[in-house]
Amino acid sequence: MSLLSEVWQAVKALGTGMATVHKRVYEDAPTEFYPYVQPDLPAVSVQSLALVENEDGSERCIVCLQCERACPAQVITIERHRNPEGKGFLIDRFDIDLVNCMYCAACVEACPVSSIVTIQDFEMSTYDLHTLKADIDFLHEQSRRSRRWYSPKFGVEIRTDDGKIVKAPPEMQPGGLAELLKPAEEEVDQ
């Protein structure tokens, strides 16, 4: 290859590269301006765990230990005692080690009453790891602060402004509820 053709090859390659880059200069920036603009996460996104209470403040959890058994990382610790007045159990201790949690949402899937749910609060960074060893008050506080959460059994639920817990409208639901919504969809098709 002569020197001239080598120079021409180099100039051509530079031109192609510059043209390719130039095309993208005018496209919208793909980056998110996070601290100033909160990202709009999908409702199924697993960012943290919370323990939901009923509207009247009573415990939704029935302490069946299913989440403790389902957890692959074995970070959930529950202690319980029999309810002296009536059926069921009462919680003594409900701890989730959110440091070692792998956020696979197996506990959420196992919960029969949708008490433990996934929320979209990801701002959990801390200087002290021990603050992430969540106890029951921490998990309740997480759910009280959040306006929306997800569990496979009930789908997306919303906390309204007056403190009521309602099921989100179908357009907000993820695909997991397609089975439940199937009759309605068929009617629309006809």
Partner: protein
């Protein structure tokens, strides 16, 4: 494991022993290669692994089958759901579960989406190793779209824990098929740019053509799979040889190259992105919009028997050998990692090459250390 002593070999006082890694930015994680140098030429190369060892196989023996699946995600962390499939397939075989066709198609769409995502990461980091920063920014931009699609359905971006025995965990997002179709159109516009920046780039030609040639015989003897094997001229692909999920229903080609050099491995990965787009397009037409997504599996499954199942992930044959002893926990799980086996060719390719070529060769092997060290 054999090691190189730091002292030079007697009679070869001109040899210098250097450590490449484990903190070298071009080792794609925590690979440490002890390299003997004679001037620019590499005379010896011994890879040391294990800096990211997390004891997956032993932990999985103490977990139920449902709990094993999220652990497998953590192996090859850039290709997400691809790792879950071998375990899921093996357990389904042993249980004799009927998987709905729609679930298989959804699984295959996710599988190929992650293949594109993984190859995009490879393209960016390989070009970063060769000194080009721009493609890295562009490929991560496009990968972000795939991760967004995955997050809307599966709830997590890189470690989705989405496949389960008998199908997938939840139905896809209502706009999933539209999102994927939009992404494929986007990818079709982007691919010519990548061709310009990577495959047609004269600097890439100069750095990769004729560098690190792996012969067909050597590739087979070392047991490499995936794009590395196909770049050496062997058309072995688990998707064709032992079809699983929805692959029997789709048409695609297995791109091979006979050169066996670093450029051929670059080229094969490029063609695989095109083939993945082709597979997803066919599946988007075939998959019903609504329907079953999960077969019936008892939550207290117990397994006896043993089974080996393999899938073709972005790096090659990812296999798993499951032995069940009739309880709800596996007696033994052995993972056969593709990147781990592909790493065995490092001494073959490094010795005799120049030091700066070693960086290019290593990037063309596309190692991921979550899977190699396990």
């Amino acid at each position: 494991m054999s090691t190189i002593s730091v002292d030079p070999v007697p009679g070869r006082s001109d040899e210098m022993v250097v450590n490449m890694g484990p903190q070298h930015p071009a080792t794609h994680g925590v690979l440490r290669v002890v390299i003997g140098l004679e001037g620019e030429r590499i005379t010896r190369a011994v890879p040391h692994i294990g800096y990211l060892h997390r004891n997956h196989e032993k932990i999985e023996e103490a977990r139920t089958y449902f709990q094993v699946v999220p652990y497998t995600d953590r192996m090859d962390y850039v290709s997400g759901t691809q790792n879950e499939l071998p375990v899921v397939l093996a357990v389904e075989d042993l249980l004799g579960v009927e998987v709905p066709q729609r679930a298989k198609q959804i699984r295959t769409i996710f599988f190929e989406l992650f293949r594109i995502a993984s190859h995009l990461v490879w393209m960016g980091t390989a070009m970063l190793d060769l000194g080009a920063i721009t493609p890295f920014l562009y490929t991560f931009w496009d990968r972000e779209i795939i991760l967004g699609i995955v997050e809307r359905t599966a709830g997590a971006r890189m470690l989705p824990n989405y496949y389960t025995f008998g199908g997938v965990r939840r139905d896809v997002h209502p706009e999933f098929f539209k999102d994927v179709a939009d992404f494929l159109d986007h990818m079709q516009r982007r691919m010519p740019d990548y061709e310009h920046l990577v495959l047609e780039n004269p600097i890439v030609h100069a750095r990769t053509k004729g560098v690190g040639v792996l012969s067909k015989e050597r590739a087979i003897a070392r047991g490499v799979t995936g794009p590395v094997l196909r770049a050496s001229g062997v058309a072995y692909d688990v998707r064709k040889a032992f079809p699983y999920d929805a692959y029997p229903d789709v048409e695609f080609e297995v791109p091979t190259s006979s050169d066996g050099d670093t450029y051929a491995r670059f080229w094969v990965r490029f063609q695989e992105i095109y083939q993945a787009c082709k597979i997803i397009r066919q599946l988007l037409e075939q998959t019903p919009k609504t329907g079953p997504y999960k077969g019936k599996v008892s939550p207290r499954l117990k397994i006896s028997g043993e089974r080996y199942r393999a899938v073709e992930n972005s790096r090659g044959e990812l296999g798993v050998y499951v032995v069940g002893d009739g309880s709800d926990r596996p007696y033994r799980i052995k993972h056969r990692g593709a990147a781990f086996t592909n790493l065995q060719v490092i001494p073959d390719l490094f010795i005799g090459a120049k030091f700066s070529d070693a960086i290019a060769i290593l990037s063309s092997l596309d190692p991921v250390f979550g899977e190699i060290d396990r």
